[in-house]
Structure formats: C-alpha cells, structure tokens
Amino acid sequence: MWTFFHKLGSPPWLYGISGTILRYLLPVTLVALAVGMVWGLLYTAPDFRQGNSYRIIYIHVPAAVVALAGYYVMAIAGAVSLIWKMKMADIAMKSCAPIGAALTFVALVTGAIWGKPTWGTWWVWDARITSMLILLFLYLGVIALYEAYDNKAAAGKACAVLTLVGTVNIPIIYKSVDWWYSLHQPASIKFTGESSIDTSMLYPLLLTISAFYLMFTCALLMNMRAEILERERRTKWVSKLAGMESD
C-alpha cells in the first residue's frame, strides 16, 4: 500500500504507467464516444414533447456531469497538495482545470442551443445556468491564477485554496433545480427510485456519460504527462527521453 503511494509520487513511474494505460484507454474512449453519439443522433426515437431537439441531451448531460465530477477531482487534488504537499497532486489539480473549463463551456453552449427551440430563449438567469456559469469562472480562475504567479509553489497553494472555496458551488448546482423555481428540468436519471426516462433513451445516454468520463481520464493523464515533462526538464530521465525522440 505505502509503496504504491511512494511510486505515485515518482514522476518517471507515473509517466511510464500512464503511457501504458493511455495506449489502451484512448482507443476505447474514441469508440465509445463515436458509438454513443451516433446512437443518440440516428437510432433513438424523438421525444414526444421536445421532438428532435432533445438529441442534444446526449452531449449536454455528459458534459455537465463530467464538468462537475472534474471539479471534485480538482478539489481533492488541491486538498492533498495543500495538506501533504504532494507534487503529483498539484500537477493533477492544474491539469484538471482546462478540461473542466472546456466541458463546462460545452454544457453551457449546448444548453443555450437546446434552450432556443425548447424554451424560446438562448439564455435565462436561472439558478442552474447561473451556477454553471460560476463553475466556468472558477475553472478559468484557477487557470489564470496559476499563470499569474512566477513562483509555482505559491501558485499551487493559491489555486488549491480557490478550488476548495469554490466547492461551495457544487451542491448549489446539484440542488438548484429543486431549491428554486427553474426553467431547467429536474434530473431524469436517479440512482434511487424510478428514472423518468425511457430505457431506449437511457442506454445511449449512459454510454455517452461513460465515454465523457473516459475522455476526462485520458485528457487528465495526457495533461499530467505534459506537465511532468515541463517540470522535470532538467532531470536525466527526461533528457534521455528527449534524446530518444530526436534519434
């Protein structure tokens, strides 16, 4: 157990193992994304009330779900780097931010596009939508704060604090559709009790959600690998790696 944690803190080990994982995980991710999207677009029946516009659900919901999950990962990594000063946790936290920001952006944009034919408007200052916008600003804030410091250790600490303070927003996003009167529909999938979505629509949705989770994992590992190289450029093992690449 402890040797595992010890290894986790070793950059060359993490770089190597993540490369092996990605070799298998990346193709699976791409296939899952393609199958899920084509299934949702071509092989499901339209919603009886919303018609074909509901097909946006197969990208909107996964993007939003994984954008939130990504924030958890970032917050946990931030806490670990703050408490135990683990270098890899700091790298993981920094690597989460651009992916989370991109996914939150997708959730907001696809939501706006879905809103036009369904609600008749691109945007409302609704509790769910506004709290998602705050999530986007939190992600962008972490990216900007990291760049603002020359001292990377100080930057990591400041970002970790910002991330942890920002977790207040997460339960607000989850509960916003129940707490406030909202245009946004409540969750269709429930872990406890009956889901309000037909299984023919549920299966492709679960597939795209899984595919987006896989994509997040792949992107996180790839971002971490690039960040590891950047920080370890003066070490022998990276020089050796660069030497092999140039041959």
Binding site: T44, R55, I59, L103, E230
Partner: protein
C-alpha cells in the same frame, strides 16, 4: 436508423440546425481537449532534443543552421 432519408436526418423536423451545431461545437472541443496535451508534449520534447543537440555541439546541425541562415 430512425430517419427515412439523409434529408430528414439533416433537417430533423426543423431542429437540425440546433442539434447539428451543438454536436459540431462539442466535437471541436473534444478534439481540442485531446490534441492540445499531445501537441504540448511533442513541443517540449522537440525543444529539449534541440537543446541537447546544441549542448553536445554536434557539428552537422551547426552547419545546417548556418547554411539555412545565409
């Protein structure tokens, strides 16, 4: 497939513009998410490989850079 023809698939009873634009934007972002770390990694490695060559003082690369510079 649910749709009878390619036209129906594109049009989607008037919702095609919304659905397809949403999917296109998502696709572009996914490609960006997955490609940007690969490009960054390759850039770092090629930068380092260049530094490595310079520090070793390989004569062939010096000559090449001189030739291209003049």
């Amino acid at each position: 497939m649910y749709f009878d023809s390619l036209g129906a698939l594109v049009h989607m009873d008037g919702h095609g513009v919304y659905v397809w634009s949403a999917y296109m934007i998502t696709l572009v972002v996914i490609i960006f998410i997955l490609l940007s770390p690969i490009r960054r990694k390759n850039r770092i490695l090629s930068e380092m490989a260049g530094e490595l060559r310079r520090s070793q003082g390989a004569p062939s690369t010096d000559e090449e850079s001189n030739a291209s510079g003049t």
